[in-house]
Symmetry: C2
Subunit: 328 residues, 2 copies
Amino acid sequence: MPSQTAVTLESIKQPIQAELDAAFQELSRIVRSDFSMINDVNSHLLKLRGKLFRPTLALLAARVSGEVGEREATLAAIVELIHVATLVHDDSVDHSALRRGQPTINSLFSHQVSVIMGDYLYSRAIVELVDLDCAPALKVMSRVTNEMTIGEMRQLQSHDGLGFDERDYDLLIKAKTASLMSGACEVGALSGNAPYREELRKYGLLLGMAFQVADDLLDYTGSEAVTGKPTGLDLKEHKITLPLILSLPSMSTAERDRVQALMDDPDPTEEAVEEIVGIVQDRGGIKAAGERASELAENAHDELEGIPASEARTALVDCITYAIERRR
Amino acid sequence: MPSQTAVTLESIKQPIQAELDAAFQELSRIVRSDFSMINDVNSHLLKLRGKLFRPTLALLAARVSGEVGEREATLAAIVELIHVATLVHDDSVDHSALRRGQPTINSLFSHQVSVIMGDYLYSRAIVELVDLDCAPALKVMSRVTNEMTIGEMRQLQSHDGLGFDERDYDLLIKAKTASLMSGACEVGALSGNAPYREELRKYGLLLGMAFQVADDLLDYTGSEAVTGKPTGLDLKEHKITLPLILSLPSMSTAERDRVQALMDDPDPTEEAVEEIVGIVQDRGGIKAAGERASELAENAHDELEGIPASEARTALVDCITYAIERRR
């Protein structure tokens, strides 16, 4: 079972903190350009820094597998760079104004700049991967980035109505979120003679799915002060996620009609959203989604079974707890 | 010297027409997805087909270098796929409604779909390149795609005012247009034992620069019926191109002030645009830009010198004529 004590990102990063700092330095080097407009955007992106959860996964996976050297730091930087590139495009697609409490590239510069910068960052990541001359890592990361674009497309589909079911949701979160976490673990796991490559790939996939289910749950349970997002934002945007999907079969016809009415309303009121959050809660959707997150977390934990005890292995276990208990 | 008789794309394609058809089939295979939304967009993109000038370059370069087999057809398909991916993002960035006389992805589907589909197509191209297991091609194409994003950023800068000079313009057209044509020729040139790799790389670069100068000239010389674009559209959009850059030094202060006034006007009238087109013409900008296109064309031709006579070599020469004489 994942540890029950409160874990922090700081404690998780502890076994690979120096390598993570090196990876962040690598990231700054990789994105640098001799064209000033690009560096202006880079400066803003690097200032945000973010939680670096994905490169942390890559480095911990590397640490339990073998040596953690320059190649691993570069791979971890590339993983984060691909993550940042997708965030830049996500914000552009969603017309989001804020990210990590700071203005997004599309709001600070322009929509045009954000589309082009996403392309720049992603293609820089590929150039760097090619330079590393590590065919398995290139194979993993190119597949993962393609899966993520399919996930983005599935995300658009998740706004299309109540026909979006648990299978669609699983495909969505695997592609959108879990694929990159899985890829991060898998490229890290290439260290040494890659003793746990398949286990860590699966661990990352299950962890990523648990991470996204927990994220979607926060929209139904979190408070604005804690999550930085108003409760029910997904519903407001007609985004179908697991708590709603799992409560639909237990709803009365009248309740389902209320949900459909909200989906048909281009701009639902706070009250309408709160009402549906209440129905989802009453019909067991929040509990069921929580159970699904725990199940995924346990399955992720099982994948670590064959890895000998170490600080890094403990941190990988703690990543599971972090994924399902964090408040964004 | 490039041939002076009228050349057509059809005659240029003749030596590699069968291989080009195979490349287009490859393209259809590569973009296929098991997700219906993506296939809907693909169907639209494949219907457009386009001129396939870049894969034509790749296959002709391969034909003068060695065998043209499956690998070359796949590389040609990847070149076109990267081109299409950038067009999808370009149209999204520019909010263009039409491309090749057909509705763009952003107008037919949505802005969101066009950003995501560009990412999908580009990442599919990389997956396919990785599968080909041809390190030099991967190196060339990853570098080229990154250069193209920098070109897009430089394009934004070209709207920023009269400080955008000939050096900036050269960097822009190299990155935006010539890099992919150069890359197409270079990956084609890897065929056999790559006897003309460096020559064909340079040929593609010079050809691509000539192509873009000629394209920008059409905005000052072409008629709407022929080009599908109203004369002076670049000026209307405050885009600084070579004819204007080369005429600025010969302008009087009063004329330069007129140009500046147009740049300061968010929505210049047809008359104001026509006036500046006239000034650029009178101050020799159109003539000078035409001379620059011819000079680039001759330099491109020089790179072919060491390649023995063949149908494919003649077609490469004709590509130069096509690049500078076409009417879009």
